[in-house]
């Protein structure tokens, strides 16, 4: 489970994230949507321990990030919006690197890595340097690496960017399958259809503050949107 309490990030004059309070229980898929520059990536980076909050706290599976960052991080599978990787490693070497960092059982590694590579359609390219991969392939490799240590929490920023329709369908099904198995997923996305399809609850962030939080039906009720799709709800919530 994930708990964000009073999470705030300030950059000199700018408040990027303001007093965010979110609780995501075990096995839930939480969608995090908002316009560009609303504070989604900043929130995700604080949750992943990449940047420290100005105030407030992040708790992952009951572990406070500021108190035990390594322990909290070992529970997370982190997938950033841009798949920057070590270009001079091969996919298999990169998975080995991740497995060593996250302490994946050495005996299980060959089978697990092979499984991940096959699931993300990368086994044919596993011996090639990452620098020769396309954006989508890199994105799939980041996902494969993030799932290698069987995390209890997945934090993912824009998961569908750069993926082809087959991969998008596969990732959606995979997330649903993982959540059914008790994995908590916090997903930031601009693809409202994806959020509507797989998220149990959706939080809308605007100018650093959470302006709405609930199931798609809750959000429709909140905005008097009737049967309108999530796009209409989003427009109403974030209009100036």
């Amino acid at each position: 489970m994930i708990e964000l309490a009073g999470l705030t990030k300030k950059y000199t004059d700018l408040v990027a994230v303001n007093d965010l309070n979110i609780f995501v229980p075990k096995g839930e898929i939480f969608g995090f949507i908002g316009p560009n520059g609303a504070g989604k990536t900043t929130t995700i980076n604080m949750m992943g321990g990449i940047i420290t909050p100005t105030s407030g706290r992040v708790t992952i599976c009951g572990i406070r990030m500021e108190e035990h960052p390594e322990k909290a991080k070992s529970k997370i599978g982190f997938i950033p919006d841009r798949p920057y990787l070590y270009e001079k490693l091969t996919a298999m070497e990169f998975l080995e690197f991740t497995a060593d960092l996250y302490g994946v059982n050495e005996n299980d590694f060959p089978a697990r890595s092979q499984e991940q590579l096959e699931m993300f359609l990368l086994s044919e390219w596993s011996g090639e340097l990452i620098e020769s991969y396309s954006h989508g392939m890199k994105q799939r490799l980041v996902m494969a690496a993030a799932l290698l240590h069987e995390p209890e929490v997945i934090i993912v920023d824009e998961p569908m960017v750069g993926l082809d329709p087959v991969a998008i369908k596969m990732v959606k099904e995979l997330f649903l399958h993982l959540a059914a198995g008790g994995v908590t997923i916090f997903m930031s996305t601009h693809t409202l259809k994806v959020a509507e399809d797989i998220c149990d609850r959706i939080g809308v962030i605007h100018k650093g503050s959470l302006v709405a939080n609930g199931t798609p039906e809750d959000l429709r009720r909140l905005t008097d949107a009737g049967e309108a799709d999530l796009e209409q709800v989003f427009m109403r919530l974030t209009e100036e």
Binding site: G48, S74, Y84, E93, D100
Partner: protein, 562 residues
């Protein structure tokens, strides 16, 4: 022409923003420090040139020949260095820049993009060389009392040479890219350039120019003079530039104008040919560059098994570091250069004419050995600046992997430290031991040097990693250039201060110990206290040099935004 100017605008605007909009303190300090160093260096070149030319002028008959020969050599070197640097710059500008796909998606002909990029490349590769060779040419004007026309002509001649060099380079690059992918050419050219430089250096070094001051060698002076009078090849652009400057120094303005015009007409022809070739092949070469790079060596390194004794996160980072280092072809030429540096360094000690020195040989050998500790650690600082300092920046935008991983920044930095510490320690000890053997120093000096360097290397490497972590540049296309940043400069200055302090602290005690050893006398109590105090202080300083930069780097890195 409008399209070309538009294409150049982002560069001009970013330059304007960088230079005139920066009001932060750090940028100002950086500008003033680099500015002062630059001005001092310029002044130094000017003073040396004036002195040398003034000296030549004083030698009857031979003086002018020497001065003109020097001018011809300076111009030939200017042209060669420009061609080499233009090859690398035009390769990057024309084929490897990140913004190329954006620029080529715009409705502009590829030859116009080529012209814009070529102009950028020409300016980037030549401005610094022009600025720093100007004092040499100005000195000629002053020593030979040339008129104002000479100074104007210098600019014209150097500009035409720059255009010619850049034109030749871009032609070479465009034609080669058709056959070999651009990424690989860069490594090949860097490698060839280094070999060329080293061959020249060794040729010069093995001639042992220090022997020229030896009167016994003067019998060959006549042959030497004959060689000096041989005219330079007339087809070389540097010869036209030389003829232009020489004739104007002799007061023949019309003749000089002819040679300057010859140089400019060739520059025009080179530009014209470039545009035609660019229109025909530039886009083809660029398309070839866009294809995925293939690996030179397919076999994977089994570095993992080599580090079986390390904990898994440490092993993960160590193996990753080694793999990425050796697969980066730009590092190969650097390693090659370091190998050459070691050979040159050791050879220079071998060539020292110690026997002819007026000071007692044993004393001189051991004095040199002591100073050599400082010199070797300065060499280590330079090597660390190239490898240890950019170690954190070399994570580039993949640094999120480290920050999101269950590993502390402290561990990450210490792993980096040890990866660079062992090879750099080995390198420094090799330098010290080899040179001490050549100097035939006493066992005392040998042990002292080995132990002293052993305690100094960790501090220098730690400062490299620590300052590199405190001032990282994750966005740079070439992290090795991080050392030219403010942090890099700070690192070099702190290192120099540390080495200087240790050497000063130890100089007196080492002298006492050495003399007592030679004269077989017992040290006084005061001498003993002094020795313990100085060595103790140097030891404490070395410990602080290891701990403080790492803590500083860790703190700053924790707050660094990706």
């Amino acid at each position: 022409m409008k399209a070309v100017i538009t294409l150049l605008k982002p560069r001009i605007l970013s330059f304007k923003f960088k230079r005139f909009s920066s009001d932060n303190k750090e940028a100002l300090i950086k500008l003033s420090v680099f500015g002062t160093i630059g001005v001092l260096f310029w002044g130094g070149i000017f003073a040396v040139s004036l002195r040398v030319l003034g000296y030549f002028k004083g030698i009857e008959e031979l003086g002018d020949i020497l001065a003109y020969k020097l001018l011809s050599m300076v111009l030939l070197t200017f042209l060669s260095v420009l061609v080499f640097s233009s090859i690398l710059t035009s390769l990057s500008k024309l084929y490897l820049s990140r913004d190329l796909s954006l620029v080529h998606s715009m409705p502009v002909s590829s030859y116009k993009i080529f012209i814009a990029r070529w102009i950028e490349s020409t300016i980037d590769s030549s401005w610094m060389l022009i600025v720093y060779t100007l004092p040499v040419f100005i000195s000629y004007g002053i020593v030979y009392q040339a008129g104002m026309f000479f100074y104007g002509n210098i600019i014209f001649v150097l500009l035409s040479l720059s255009i010619i060099a850049s034109g030749i380079s871009s032609l070479l690059v465009m034609l080669t890219v058709i056959a070999i992918p651009a990424g690989r050419i860069k490594s090949i050219f860097v490698f060839l350039g280094l070999i060329f430089f080293l061959v020249l250096f060794f040729a010069f070094r093995f001639l042992r120019p220090e022997r020229l001051v030896d009167p016994e060698v003067f019998s060959t002076t006549l042959i030497y003079l004959k060689a000096l009078k041989t005219p330079a090849p007339p087809y070389l652009p540097s010869t036209w530039a030389f003829d232009s400057l020489k004739t104007i120094l002799e007061g023949k303005i019309v003749k000089s104008l002819f040679h300057t015009s010859l140089s400019w007409s060739f520059a025009g022809v080179v530009v014209f040919i470039n545009i035609i070739i660019a229109d025909a092949v530039y886009i083809k070469g660029l398309s070839k560059t866009q294809t995925a790079p293939s690996r030179l060596i397919k076999r994977s390194m089994s570095a993992g098994r080599l580090f079986f004794f390390l904990s898994r996160p440490v092993r993960a980072l160590a193996v990753k570091e080694i793999r990425t280092f050796f697969r980066d072809q730009t590092q190969w030429s650097q390693l090659f250069l370091i190998g050459a540096l070691v050979v040159i360094y050791v050879y220079n000690f071998n060539a020292l004419p110690l026997a002819k020195a007026p000071i007692k040989t044993v004393y001189l050998q051991n004095l040199l050995s002591f100073l050599n500790m400082g010199l070797a650690t300065f060499v280590l600082t330079a090597v660390s600046a190239r490898f240890a300092f950019p170690a954190v920046s070399s994570e580039r935008e993949s640094f999120w992997l480290v920050k999101s991983a269950p590993i502390t920044l402290r561990s990450f930095l210490w792993i980096k430290f040890f990866i660079y510490f062992f090879p750099l320690l080995a390198l420094t000890e090799i330098l010290i031991i080899a040179t001490n053997i050549l100097l035939k120093v006493t066992p005392f000096m040998m042990v002292l040097s080995i132990v002293n360097v052993f305690f100094m290397v960790p501090g220098i490497v730690s400062m490299g990693i620590g300052f590199g972590a405190a001032y990282p540049d994750f966005k740079s296309e070439n992290p090795a250039q991080a050392v030219t940043s403010f942090g890099g400069l700070l690192y070099m200055m702190v290192c120099a201060g540390y080495i200087g302090t240790v050497i000063v602290l130890e100089a007196g005690p080492v002298y006492n110990l050495f003399m007592a050893d030679i004269n077989a006398r017992v040290l006084t109590v005061i001498e003993r206290i002094w020795i313990f105090g100085s060595f103790g202080l140097a030891f404490i300083l070395s410990i602080l040099a290891v701990v403080m930069p790492m803590n500083f780097g860790e703190k700053k890195l924790a707050n660094t935004l990706l």
